[in-house]
């Protein structure tokens, strides 16, 4: 006959084994969640702070094939260059929402905007913006027109805009719209009003 204290000991050990097994499973699930969070490619730009101002964003509509001005309130920092960056990030956030009229991937971001006097601005896009942009004349041209016109209307003095990708010149945005030359603000505005 097995002694009673031995039976109790074995029972306790069995319970411990099962409990540790469950805990191990829990730890593994947690580790997997942490891994998937780490590969999330969403841009993590710090949110802008400061009082909100009314700006006009030129939002593209793929179905209609045009830009629509949209007045909106966004927080804008004091510096001219930082304001330009926050403006275009606000525009991107519209395009990254579900059901957007001109969808862009969540990973698309503005790396920086450089304001070069007199009258020139350089928009530096990240690789995901261009690499994952839909390929097509209208889609690419609307993106460019939207960025240029939003910048020009809200940042006084901008007359021409160049677009880079990851700090380098690129022939086209996604196979069609030419990025090798600067965009004249007046020409883009007149094209948008056609």
């Amino acid at each position: 006959m097995i002694p009673r204290h031995l039976l109790i000991a074995v029972a306790v050990l069995l319970v411990l084994v099962v409990a540790m097994g469950l805990y191990l499973r829990h730890m593994r699930l947690q580790a997997r969640e942490l891994e998937s969070a780490a590969v999330d490619a969403s841009p993590v730009a710090p949110p802008a702070t400061g009082p909100t101002e009314t700006v006009t964003l030129y939002v593209a509509d793929d179905t209609a094939g045009l830009l629509r001005p949209r007045a909106t309130q966004i927080p804008l920092p004091g510096g001219r260059q930082q304001r330009a960056e926050e403006l275009l990030r606000a525009l991107l956030r519209i395009y990254q929402q579900p059901g957007a009229t001109h969808p862009l991937v969540p990973a698309a971001d503005i790396r920086a905007i450089y304001l070069v006097d007199p009258g020139a601005a350089v928009i530096d896009l990240n690789a995901a913006f261009a690499d994952q942009h839909r390929s097509g004349i209208q889609s690419e041209q609307l993106t460019v027109n939207s960025l240029v016109q939003t910048l020009a209307v809200n940042v006084p003095g901008i007359q021409r805009v160049n677009i880079l990708v990851e700090g380098k010149t690129r022939d086209t945005l996604a196979g069609h719209t030419d990025l090798s030359d600067s965009f004249d603000v007046i020409t883009i505005e007149q094209a948008g009003s056609q």
Partner: protein, 499 residues
């Protein structure tokens, strides 16, 4: 719970009653009504500004030799203000420091200090008085519009002319004065000459053509209204409003405007309507056999054979858009181009296909091939999976720089032919609409459109009612090709003519 006949809020009668708390109930009723009225008033007042259409937003145009720009005019306490930094930053180097109560600014080598709520500031060591208090919002200063001219003169040291009613500010001698000359031939033409290139927006209505100068520092030609001794083009008038200048030309017939290549001359002339051509027989749908040619072979042989350069986009390593997991844009464009070649050839055109296989060509090679061949027209073909119908594009060109004689910049080689390109584009849209394609016409920064010296368009074919499958459907492609070919025939007389 019971609903009180006087109150709009329920009263739990099981615990409270009007008899037990009569005075409190009456006070609450009065307070509730007052609160409701106040809320309604605040809602109406806050909604009122947003109901204004965007076109009524006040703005001021600033013209200088270094920058031309517009600024929003903000209303504060019944006065018009503009942003101080928005005003100065395009004109020079600006650095600022502010704590919300004061603002210190350096513009080039000039230091200035401003205090929120005060009308006196210090600029370069001297006092400066505003017509209204200086304001600071979001660390950026606002200055009253009435002090704009005097303030800028302090910073810039140059004459500043501010037309406050029109909200147009001129720094230095930058104004462009137009001159008029009426050519009273048949039909009459009005020539407007400017001392610098201009880019007005043109709009027309019965009896009038309006040129709106949003960014050009155009000033009055001397007289606000000029009358012409002509029965067709009768007079012109000048006006300024909300930062823009407008020139209106009034006539008894529809008018059109054409620009010289240097954009210093605008020619206003009457619209000449070409004689209507007999409508060609239109196919009654897909799969009914090849269409009949518009002209008989005997007639086509007598017509000068214009060369059409047809360019199927992408090719080789460059697949273009991924229309499906297996279908690439380059494959659709090649098949489409071959159909278009057939349609053009049976209509009497010579056709050069810039690629007739799955080969790689650079954009410069494509442009060079069309230019060297002296094609009469260049047509680039694309395909896309989004949307429906077709989109027709002409080149989006920047304003050309100084005239270099017969030479044009490579990226603006299309400039002289652009007016005819737009006519071709409109003709393609018309013919495609006849064949029940939904069509959009636009301009795009699309090479090599801007590098070719002949009339040039790009056609982007999108799916039809049957979705992506239409892009590989021969009948769908043939309908589109037939429409494009009909359009080229319709504008044949304008092709091959050097502007």
């Amino acid at each position: 719970m019971r609903w009180s006949s006087k109150l709009q809020f329920s009263v739990p009668s099981s615990r409270f009653s009007a008899r037990r708390f009569p005075l409190r109930t009456e006070n609450w009723e009065l307070r509730t009504k007052i609160l409701a009225i106040l809320l309604a008033s605040v809602t109406l007042l806050s909604a009122a500004p947003s109901s204004l259409p965007s076109g009524d937003e006040k703005q001021i145009s600033v013209y200088s030799s270094v920058a031309i720009y517009k600024l929003p005019v903000l209303e504060r306490a019944g006065r018009d203000y503009v942003g101080l930094l928005d005003l100065l930053e395009p004109l020079g180097r600006v650095s600022t420091e502010s704590n919300g109560r004061w603002l210190k600014l350096r513009y080039n080598a000039i230091d200035a200090e401003f205090v929120a709520g005060k009308t006196r500031a210090k600029i370069h060591g001297h006092d400066f008085d505003f017509v209204a208090p200086f304001l600071i919002e979001n660390s950026r200063g606002l200055i009253p519009l009435g002090s704009l001219s005097a303030l800028l003169q302090r910073f810039l040291g140059t004459p500043v002319n501010f037309r406050e009613s029109a909200r147009r500010l001129f720094i230095g001698d930058v104004g462009i004065q137009p001159s008029f000359r009426l050519d009273a031939g048949t039909p009459p033409r009005l020539l407007l000459s400017f001392s610098a290139p201009v880019n007005p927006t043109i709009s027309t209505e019965p009896g009038k053509l309006r040129m709106t100068f949003k960014r050009d520092p155009v000033v009055s030609p001397g007289s606000q209204s000029i009358s012409f001794d002509n029965k067709i083009i009768t007079h012109a008038s000048y006006s300024e409003n909300n930062g823009d200048a407008e020139l209106d030309v009034t006539a008894n017939e529809p008018l059109m405007a054409t620009f010289s290549s240097d954009r210093r001359t605008i020619v206003i002339s009457t619209v000449t309507v070409p004689a209507a051509e007999p409508a060609p027989a239109t196919p009654n749908g897909a799969g009914t056999g090849p269409p009949k040619p518009v002209q008989s072979p005997a007639v086509a042989a007598n017509v000068h054979r214009i060369l059409a350069a047809v360019d199927p986009a992408h090719g080789g390593d460059e697949r273009g858009a991924a229309l499906t997991d297996t279908l690439a844009e380059k494959d659709v464009t090649l098949g489409f181009a071959r159909l278009l070649r057939h349609e053009l050839e049976i209509r009497g055109f010579a056709v050069a296909l810039l690629r007739d296989a799955d080969t790689s060509l650079t954009l410069d090679q494509r442009a060079a091939a069309a230019n060297v061949a002296r094609a009469g027209i260049y047509i680039s073909l694309h395909a896309v999976s989004q949307g429906t119908g077709a989109r027709v594009y002409t080149a989006l060109l920047p304003v050309e720089g100084p005239n270099n004689g017969i030479f044009h910049a490579w990226n603006a080689a299309q400039a002289p032919a652009l007016p005819v390109s737009r006519i071709v584009s409109a003709a393609i849209a018309t013919e495609m609409q006849k064949k029940e394609f939904a069509v959009q016409v636009s301009s795009a920064s699309l090479r090599p459109l801007n590098n070719v010296s002949m009339p040039a368009v790009a056609v982007e074919l999108a799916p039809g009612e049957n979705g992506i499958a239409d892009l590989t459907n021969a009948n769908y492609q043939q309908r589109a090709a037939s429409a494009i070919a009909d359009a080229v025939v319709a504008v044949r007389d304008r092709l091959g003519v050097q502007p």
